[in-house]
């Protein structure tokens, strides 16, 4: 997580906006979710359930709120 000079974290996502994560394996999606949760320290997560589409794709939608 990058920080500015005044130590305000620069998030790779917008607070309150759903973020969709996709990958070929459940583990990859889990890793990406974990990274997002780390970046969003102090925020509350919503969603985050990993869905399997029955084919070759796993995805999850997570949202962080204050």
């Amino acid at each position: 997580m990058s920080k500015t000079k005044d130590e305000t974290p620069i998030l790779a996502f917008e607070v309150g906006k759903p973020i969709k994560v996709e990958a070929a394996t459940r583990e990859e999606v889990a890793e990406k979710l974990k990274a997002l949760r780390n970046d969003a320290e102090g925020l509350n997560a919503q969603g985050g359930f990993i869905e399997y589409d029955g084919g070759e794709k796993f995805s999850a939608v997570i949202k962080f709120v204050k």
Partner: protein, 140 residues
Amino acid sequence: MALTKIMGQNFRAFVGGSAVPEATNCQVTIQGNLEDSTTKDSEGGWNEEQMTSKQWSVQVDDVDASLATLRALITRFNSDSKTTVGWDQTETTAGTQNRTAANAAFARSGLAILNDLSINANNRTTIQVSCQYQGSGALA
């Protein structure tokens, strides 16, 4: 944060990416169908089995008994459509009502069809709606 022991209230069914709201119970069944493959060569008098097919289902009891939910469930039933269904351990964060998926390593999901919808209406109590999703394809 994932707990070592999973409490029932934190084991929640997810349909279409969201935890099923207001349910009081959910049940997951994963079953393998076996075929007896015992032959004269089998040793020790023991049967031998082989897995011929697998199936899974998720049942959720006492879902939100609102008219909107009931309408949506009947529409889904009539559509024969496949929906993403699964489960996860949840955690409570502010404003999420224990609906935040929290244990990706434990969760599983797949496509499923709503094949059983029951409505129980006793006198002077809120109706109870239960539904079962039968897996169609792999649970992963």
